[in-house]
Structures are given as C-alpha cells and as structure tokens.
C-alpha cells in the first residue's frame, strides 16, 4: 500500500468517525420507521458499522459527490437495512394487494405477517410515525382480514398446521365492496398516467405525503404542484365516472386519502 493509499484510508476512517453520530441518528430513524425495538435498532447499527469497516469503507469510497453526504448515507442505510432484514428474517415479498394499496399497506403487512406484530401493535407504531394520520392507519387496518397469530407447532404436525406462505388472504377481498372496486379501477387509471404524475398521486393519496414533502422528494416546485394535483384529481374523477364509478365512491376514496 503506497503513501497515497494509506492517506486515503486514513481519510475514510476520519470521515467514518465524523459521520458516526449521523449514522446512529439514521439507524434510529430507520428503526422507528420500521417498528424495530431499541435493541433491534442497535443490533442493526452494529451490524451496519461492522460491515462498513470490514469492507474497508467501500461504502464511503463509493461516494462520488453526486449528492450531499447526508442524503447518500440515508440511501445507503435504507439499502443496508433491507439486506439486514433479509439476512435476519429471510426474504419477504408483500402481497399484490398490499402493493396496490401503497407503502403504508406494505409496511403494515410486513410488520404483521413477517415480523409477528399484532394488528394493534403495528397500528400503534405506524400511527405515530412519518406523518400518517391515525385515521388513515386505522382505515388501512380495518381492511385487514383477521388471522391467527403465528405459534409454534410440533414438527411432526407441521404439514397439517402449516398456513399458506406469504400474505395471501391477508386483505379483505377487493370485490367485497363498491369502494374496493373503485379502488382497483382507480389504480388502473393511474397506471395509465406518466411516471411523474403516477408518483405525485401515489405519494399524495396513498402515502399521505404533504405537498411540500412530495415537492422535496421529486425535486419539483411546490406552488405549481397544488395546481397539478387539482388537475390530476379532476382528470381522475372524470375517468372514473367514465367507467361507471359513482361520484360518491370517488368522493369516498379521494376524501379518505386526502384527509391525511
């Protein structure tokens, strides 16, 4: 290793030590977002730091200055958490229903199906995080079909006891109500829009982000975004009317989402 390599490594160590408090903060934030206990969040933090050091600071070396270091580290932590979660709890995929319902549904389903939280516990964590209104979280939770909690069974009896894998049947069937039918049609209509419009609508009406947060996330100007949302909402109402969804059903969907 020549002098330049040694110096570069020392600089990376210095940077790592400098960002440790920031990383710890990020670990706690991710833990909070994903409903980790304090101990689990600490374990994730220790796992992440060990990985950074073992890789000879490869994560920091890859930083090319295309973003601020803080944003980069946030994205790195988010990515690392997925690896950690897969390593610890196994790879897990959300159901098609949850994907259609948005990020909140995915997290709710993951906490209950994958991590073994009760519905009540998961709702309690999510309604206090990320600006999700309690109404929105409870509304989503109401759409969950009750199912028995996981329990240990004797191996010899496992084949008889085994529940279906994944999250099949976790959500109330979508054709159960007119509202669900409208929901499905709404998602179909949104999928026909351009990517940016899709994201704007999904963020606003599915994930309850404020207009300011959407503007920040997508790098858009905030003021024109209000008008754009109005225009998109109007277009959606028209489209849904066109496929036979009543005004009341449309109002119900959009009003519920908008309440956030």
């Amino acid at each position: 290793m020549d002098t330049r390599d040694t110096s570069a490594r020392q600089d990376l160590e210095t940077l790592f030590l400098s960002v440790l408090p920031t990383l710890d903060r990020g670990v706690r934030l991710i833990g909070r977002r994903h409903g980790l206990s304090e101990a689990d969040a600490e374990e994730f933090g220790a796992w992440f730091k060990a990985r950074v050091i073992e890789s000879d600071y490869a994560i920091l070396r890859k930083f090319g200055g295309k973003s601020t270091l803080t944003t980069y580290l946030s994205a790195v932590l988010v990515n690392a958490f997925k690896d950690y979660r897969n390593a610890k709890w196994g790879r897990w995929r959300p159901s098609a229903d949850a994907r259609r319902r948005g990020a909140l549904a995915i997290r709710l389903e993951a906490m209950i199906c994958r991590d073994g939280w009760s519905v009540r516990e998961a709702v309690s964590v999510l309604e206090n995080s990320d600006g999700h209104s309690p109404d929105r979280v409870h509304e989503m939770a109401r759409q969950i079909r009750p199912r028995p909690r996981p329990r240990e069974v004797d191996v010899s009896a496992a084949h008889r006891e085994a529940a279906p894998q994944g999250s099949d049947g976790f959500w109330e069937t979508e054709h159960a109500t007119g509202r669900d039918r409208a929901f499905r049609l709404l998602t179909d209509q949104i999928a026909r829009l351009g990517p940016e419009d899709q994201l704007v609508l999904r963020m606003r009406f599915w994930d309850g982000l404020s207009v300011a947060d959407i503007a920040r996330a997508l790098g858009l100007e905030q003021k024109p975004l209000y008008r754009r949302l109005e225009r998109l909402e109007g277009a959606l109402r028209t489209m849904l009317h066109g496929v036979g969804i009543t005004r009341e059903e449309v109002r119900q969907i959009l009003a519920t989402e908008e309440a956030t």
């Binding site: 990376l12 710890d24 090319g64």
Partner: protein
C-alpha cells in the same frame, strides 16, 4: 418487495436533484414501476430530512447530541493520535501551509496577477458586518485563512495585498479579548523578514482559542489558493493532511462541519477529483465555519 434497481448513489442524487433530465426520467419511470424502489425513495427522503446536519444547529438538539457525539469524539481523538499525521508545531501552521502553494504553476508579481481578481474573496459572508458579532470559532477560522494569505502576500513582496490582508487581520484581532497587541504586529511599516513573520504567525495561532478552527481555516485557504492556480489545479498533499488533522479535533457541536470536511477529504482523495463538487463543498465549509 421487488428487487431494487436503483443504487444508493443514484437514489441520493435523484433526491438531491443533481441528475440530468434524461437520467431523472429514467429513475422516475423505475420508481413508478417498482414498489421496492418507491419504498426506498420514501424511506430515504424521510431519513435524510431528519439526518441533515444543519438542521441540528438548534440548541435543544445540540444539547441532546452530546450523548452521541462524545464517544465519536473520543474515537476521533484516538484516530488523530495514532492514525493521522501529527499537526505542525504551533508556530508553523501558517508558514508551512503558505509555503506549499503551487505557485510554480502561475506567473506574475502580485497575487491578483497570479490568481485573478478574486484573490482575496474567501467564501464566507462579507455582509455579516462587524467582526465583533462573529462567534469565536468563526474568528479563529478567518484568522487561520487570512494568516496564510498574509504570509503568501508577504513572501511575494506584494505590498498592496499585504496591506489589504493585514487590515482585515487587524479588524479580526481587535474583536478578540487581548487581541490588540497581536493586531499591532500587523500594523503597516513593521519588519517583514522571515523571523518577524514567523513570530506573527505564532502569535496569531496563540490568540485563537479554537485551534482546530484556526487550522481548518489555514488548510482551507491553502486549498482555495491552490484551486485558483488554474483549470487543472494541483492540490498539495498538505491540504488533506491538515484537513484531516483539523477535522479530528473540531469541537463536538461542529458535527455538520466535521462531516463536510470529511466529505471534502474523500472528494480530494478520489482518483478522478470532481473539481466542481470540491468547490461546492468548499463553499459550504466556508459558510459553516466562517460565519
């Protein structure tokens, strides 16, 4: 969740709005199509919004932060003791760094001729007004920077530049308690030989309570002047060494600044130095440390 297609680098650049339009459109299409990437975007935006160091400058957060910063500071201290180059002798910081400027790359008799009309523009706020209102660390940072600039001007026998910089140094020094005697060392017409300048440099560093900020200012000035020597500047090895040394000893409440300095170090060490990004990070450091 579907496999993520976007790397952390690309996702972070998207969030910060630094992608070009075609790349941004590509990312947007992936986000609309991939729930996994979309979930990562939401997580990244939420985490970055709360992780951003400048947001931590409020008093309440700063108080709580000690709990987390102290162990890191201790670790940084250990790193500084064992891993990093030892800082120069107290009297030599300004002189050592001033001597490292790659002036062989540019010709001219005065600083203005060598570096252009912006030779004395530091990057910190000049509309801030009276130096009395500056925090001590900002004064120390400015003293380090201007100490190097004075030494450079004096070595070139650039009398007009020396006069400009010494006047600014005097203003800064008078804002410090006990600074008047040191300010007197920079009065016009005094001896300007090597020993006198070394004595002034040492006095300047002694009067700056926040030595880490002083050293950081000196290192940043060396970098600023080196960057001004041409479109493909040569960055002296003293720059990263001094930056690393200063970063390791910055006070705990300077966390955002330490991170920016660390960022700059990595940029300077990368095989393909992105000069534009280096300039942006320098500007951010100048504002954080000098204002």
């Amino acid at each position: 969740m579907s496999e993520a297609q976007l790397s952390p680098e690309v996702l972070a650049a998207f969030v910060d709005g630094t992608l070009d339009s075609s790349e941004r459109e590509r990312v947007m299409a992936i986000l609309a199509d991939s729930p996994g990437d979309y979930a990562d975007l939401l997580d990244t935006v939420a985490v970055a919004a709360e992780m951003d160091p400048p947001a931590l400058s409020s008093t309440g957060v700063r108080r709580r932060r000690w709990r987390y910063v102290l162990p890191a500071l201790a670790a940084a201290g250990i790193a500084a003791a064992f891993l990093l180059p030892r800082p120069e002798a107290p009297s030599g910081v300004v002189g050592t760094l001033a001597a490292a400027i790659p002036f062989d790359r540019v010709s001219g008799q005065t600083l203005e001729m060598r570096l252009g009309p912006t030779w004395d523009q530091p990057g910190w706020s000049v509309t801030r007004g009276n130096e009395v209102s500056l925090p001590e660390s900002a004064v120390a940072f400015r003293l380090g920077a201007r100490g190097v600039l004075y030494e450079v001007a004096a070595r070139l026998s650039d009398s007009s530049a020396t006069a400009v910089v010494s006047a600014e140094l005097q203003g800064l020094l008078r804002s410090l308690r006990g600074g008047a005697p040191v300010a007197a060392l920079y009065a016009p017409g005094l001896m300007d030989d090597k020993d006198s300048r070394a004595e002034r440099g040492a006095a300047l560093e002694r009067i700056a309570d926040d030595r880490a900020s002083f050293r950081l200012g000196a290192a940043m000035e060396l970098l600023r002047l080196s960057m001004a020597t041409g479109p493909s500047p040569s960055i002296p090895e003293e720059v990263p060494e001094s930056l690393a040394s200063a970063a390791a000893t910055l006070l705990p409440e300077k966390e955002p600044l330490r991170i920016r300095v660390g960022e700059l170090l990595v940029l300077l060490r990368s095989p393909d130095v992105d000069l534009e990004q280096v300039r942006r990070t320098m500007q951010s450091i100048m504002e954080l440390a000098g204002d």
